[in-house]
């Protein structure tokens, strides 16, 4: 079954003329990460006016969506308020269809952990994140999605499965889900479970967006780096998921700018065309 509403998109971090020329014509969605658009002005991070003007031009050609990496929605001591300042600035300047964040934490007692860390799947963590999702939903009149994240560490003691944790958050708050198929593959490999079991348990009616990417393997673990074209195994999940997730509107190929010197814009364009052909 083909999902009629899913359209292709990709991530973008601004100021890349080759993207505008070669990639933008191929996509319906452009996904922006506020943290990577920002520059420092003293102690404060802001998105420069020139970047906002560029995004306003992009918005005439594609639907913009926002994907956060710096909110730290799962920090017990409080989230990162600076992220909201960036999100406010972005939403004031450009139309955005929805926004999302990783189900993770990056700060503890206001200090950066150096990487995104998975939450323990406990009732306490569930209640904390549910309250915060509701706060975000009240603050912004936009759909909000949570993304499944990669956990490289051994799974901590849990009170529910990964899919059940996401389902309960979605049920309690009404938020949507961003299902990252590469993250799912990483976790299935790293935590030694079957991706099919996760997909069978996840409430697919909540999934609005999919991510596809590819990283590297190191020390026997799959790392979520966004540096390569997708693997066959990741792409094979795409039609399976679309067939049972009728609410998916966007399929985003994630690539980080640091990978482009090796990957190249042509490979980026080819990957988008390949994924688009699967929708």
């Amino acid at each position: 079954m083909k999902c009629a509403r899913a359209r292709i998109g990709t991530s973008y971090e601004a100021a890349d003329p080759a993207f505008v020329e070669r990639i933008l014509p191929l996509v319906d969605y452009v996904e922006l990460i506020p943290d990577t658009l920002a520059l420092r002005e003293g102690r404060r991070a802001i998105i420069p006016d020139r970047t906002l003007r560029e995004l306003q031009t992009l918005a005439q050609q594609a639907t913009l969506i926002v994907h956060g990496v710096g909110l730290s929605i799962g920090s017990a001591d409080g989230w990162n308020d600076d992220y909201f300042a960036l999100l406010d600035q972005l939403l004031d300047a450009v139309p955005v269809a929805w926004h999302s964040e990783h189900l993770a934490f990056t700060h503890v007692d206001g200090r950066f952990t150096g990487t995104m860390l998975a939450l323990p799947r406990t009732q306490e963590a569930l209640e904390l994140v549910a309250q915060r999702v509701q706060h975000i939903q009240q603050r912004y009149a936009l759909p909000f999605l949570l993304e499944n994240t990669v956990n490289l560490l051994p799974d901590p003691p849990a009170e529910m499965s990964e899919a059940a944790f996401l389902n309960r958050l979605a049920q309690q708050t009404g938020c949507g889900l961003l299902l990252d198929l590469y993250n799912l593959e990483c976790n299935a490999h790293n935590q030694d479970y079957d991706a099919a079991d996760f997909l069978a348990e996840l409430d697919m009616s909540r999934v609005r967006e999919l991510h596809l990417a590819c990283g590297t393997e190191h020390g026997g673990l799959m790392l979520d780096i966004h540096s390569r074209r997708t693997r066959d195994s990741t792409r094979q999940l795409l039609p399976q998921v679309l067939a049972c997730a009728p609410g998916v509107q966007a399929v985003i190929y994630e690539v980080m700018p640091e990978a482009l010197p090796a990957l190249g814009h042509q490979a980026w364009a080819d990957e988008i065309a390949l994924l688009d052909s699967l929708l």
């Binding site: 102690r43 991070a45 017990a76 001591d77 150096g114 939450l119 306490e124 673990l221």
Partner: protein, 180 residues
């Protein structure tokens, strides 16, 4: 979660991933994690991204430390020190400030010089003075041109003026004897 609240869990995890030891009252999961090869990989990942960011912001200091085989150790020290920013510019400034307290006077001076470059790069009217324990030119020539610095080198203290309006962005002069 097995007698550990979320806040305590996150504090323990942050301490571990940034290079610290487990605490005596950590629960079994955290204590077992401390000996896990997966923790080493997470630490490597954190180190990789910090190295990547700091090489971009602290171009000269990073290159000098690499030549001395000290860069990776300084990155680990930076992470273990505790409060580093995810922002490249802020983390870069923090790293350079760490290096201004280095035992090696050339590393200190180079970090101050690089801070001055960042502070003056947008305004030609801004200038900063940095004292060096030696003539900075062989060090900077070596970093910018890829040549090996002269062994021994000039040990005469110099004062370097950093200003975008100057040709090459800086000028230097020997300090009078006894003023270094």
């Amino acid at each position: 979660m097995n007698a550990m609240d979320l806040q305590s869990y996150q504090r323990s995890l942050r301490r571990l991933v940034t290079g610290g030891p487990p605490a005596a009252d950590d629960p079994p999961y955290v204590r077992e994690l401390a000996g896990s090869p997966r923790l080493d990989i997470v630490r490597e990942v954190i180190g990789f991204w910090r190295s990547h960011a700091l090489e971009r912001y602290c171009v000269l200091s990073a290159a000098w430390l690499k030549r001395q085989g000290r860069f990776d150790a300084e990155i680990r020290r930076f992470i273990a020190a505790g409060d580093f920013s995810p922002d490249v510019a802020l983390a870069g400034q923090q790293f350079l400030r760490q290096l201004t307290r280095d035992a090696d006077a050339v590393v200190q001076a180079l970090a101050r010089f690089e801070i001055a470059l960042h502070e003056t790069r947008y305004d030609p009217a801004e200038s900063r003075c940095v004292n060096w324990p030696c003539d900075p030119r062989p060090v900077l020539d070596c970093l910018l041109g890829g040549s090996a610095p002269e062994p021994g080198g000039d040990k005469v203290p110099h004062r370097v003026t950093v200003c975008r309006a100057l040709p090459g962005g800086y000028c230097c002069e020997p300090l009078p004897a006894g003023s270094g």
